[in-house]
Symmetry: C2
Subunit: 351 residues, 2 copies
């Protein structure tokens, strides 16, 4: 077996918050082992968490020949913990330990299905920001006619300045090039109408910045255009982005409960719904956000991927594989070099 990694260099190491999700450490460990098998041991997974608990689960599985190690962390930041006080009080949390390892370049990425707010603030604090990045931004994926759309920001930056939106556009453009394999990704600005003059003060100012930027700006797009795939990357403030993301996540659940209610009407309906279930599941799969694995935090000096608390082993596996892909693409070098263009762009111009 070749342990030297894809590019003949030192093998990449991906640290995983083994205690982060709602079904931790089981889902985390099972997902990681699956990722190692699927990737044929191209990288090593470093489990961060309470060693005895991790070993207990590992012991139940066949881990022969798989590349992993364990780094002990005695504390866990819960989903209800305040990110700020948790960072102060839980110095030995999985999130802090994993990110410090990443900062020290002991690992090449950090993956967590834990408290999103805590992972965002700890990543920003411990790893630091990339050059010329004002605010790191968290993404969200939406299924679309073109495959997938990246929305930035999905909740990391609530009080957004117009130039933050410009930065999100640049980071999102690089991400879509490398990870979605789109040559010249279309960047849309979320707005309440398509005309240039629409929107609140922030969005109007961002429109001008984007119009004069180097990204492939396709103009204002509306809420309805996200799923329709009018843009590969949609930028908006984190408040609006988070509200849309959470609304979207709820739609499938509500639809499912409508179907269940329908089935309860009578025997005929029950039979009918039982027959339909498989078909519906196939059709709705694209809307199941857990299938995407995690979302990237862009703009920090490192690779951080954050997953849903309820992440399945499959979601964890996908998060780890995406982390490897981001490492191999040197995404942060590309972002830093693209961010330099902000300064050199003329202050007026045509699209």
């Amino acid at each position: 077996m070749d342990h030297s990694g894809k590019q003949g260099k030192k093998i990449k190491r991906i640290s995983l918050d083994a205690m982060g999700g709602d079904f931790a450490p089981r889902n985390e460990i099972e997902g990681a082992l699956e990722a190692l098998r699927e990737a044929n041991n191209r990288f090593e997974v470093v489990f961060i968490g309470r060693k005895p608990e991790i070993e207990q689960i590992l012991w139940e599985h066949n881990t022969k020949g798989l590349h992993y190690s364990i780094v002990n962390a005695s504390q866990v930041i819960g989903m209800q913990d305040s990110p700020v006080s948790a960072m102060r009080e839980k110095k030995d949390s999985t999130i802090a330990v994993g990110l410090r390892l990443h900062k020290d370049r002991e690992v090449d990425a950090f993956v967590s299905a834990g408290n999103t707010g805590a992972v965002v603030s700890a990543s920003t604090l411990i790893l630091g920001r990339l050059q010329n990045v004002s605010r790191p931004t968290i993404g969200a994926f939406f299924p679309s006619e073109r495959g997938v759309t990246l929305l930035l920001d999905a909740g990391a930056v609530t009080d957004c300045k117009p130039h933050f939106l410009h930065e999100f556009a640049i980071m999102g453009s690089i991400y879509a090039q490398l990870m979605f394999k789109r040559d010249n990704p279309k960047i849309g600005l979320l707005n309440i109408g398509e005309e240039d003059s629409k929107g609140d003060e922030r969005t109007k100012a961002a429109y001008t910045l984007l119009r004069n930027s180097n990204v492939n700006f396709v103009g204002n797009i509306e809420g309805r255009d996200i799923l329709q795939g009018k843009a590969d990357v949609v930028v908006c403030d984190g408040f609006t982005g988070n509200a849309i993301l959470k609304f979207a996540e709820s739609v499938i659940g509500v639809l499912k409960s409508k179907f269940t209610l329908y089935a309860e009407r009578g025997f005929r309906e029950k039979l009918w719904m039982a027959m339909m279930r498989g078909t519906l599941r196939k059709i709705l799969r694209e809307f199941d956000y857990q299938e995407y694995g995690g979302v990237p935090l862009l703009g920090v000096k490192g690779i951080t991927i954050i997953g849903h608390g309820g992440s399945t082993p499959k979601a964890i596996k996908n998060m780890i594989l995406k982390a490897e892909e981001m490492i191999n693409h040197n995404i942060n070098e590309r972002i830093e070099s693209a961010m330099q263009t902000i300064q050199s762009v003329p202050s007026s111009g045509t699209s």
Copy 2:
């Protein structure tokens, strides 16, 4: 037949923008005639638009004994027209004529499926604002576990001050009491987390105002809680509200196209989808926003109801019936009296 109206007073008159929607004047007229039949002529419909075109369509229908009249308006504000310049240039538009009639108390309400932005600005300009209302707000309806949720603002007020959100809460509370028949409507503040301390600066400030107000404030709610019915009324800035509304409107369309794509896979799938169609339609009906008819513009000195451009006759009928209900409830008197409480609320307190 009793022409004296429900309360034995002068019969109410509802003006309808006959040229507003994408299928005007046909859908408008057919919906209005249906409303008159269903309401047993309790009110009169005043069609506003190009008289010959309206008469032409009326001529095709049996209108015997129905209470309607026509007021000519030679111009139409199109969906793509800028609201501001349209108001300046089209003095004889259906929207301007209908709203002037309403201002002069010739009619008791104005209903339109035309250019939303134009109806909002013309209503504000021509009818004026209710006392103590800073900004009129447009609502949106969402299906929820509790029946229906009203979201304010859905796009009328983009640069929202915290106290606007407080005003929306008061107006929404009155609306939900009268129109949803909820005794003590639950008011939620849309935010990116449930904790008190969450959100952007605007939302944090609004949280404090609502916590100290007379409305039944249930605290912060998230995007996912809208469909789950955690609140009867959800308040947020018009930028976010509009983005969520348009996103929501697109979901059903995207799902339908997924089902169609699935049917194209082969004969078996096609047959299967044909069999499922009726059931799906039944289940998805609640999510079909056109079924709700129109949405109210709250905070103006009058009753304005605005419908989707693609309004069906059924939607138009529902808009007219809702307008009658709002007239009968004297909703604006109730709002003005509730708005007076803003000044008299102590500046601190507990929930």
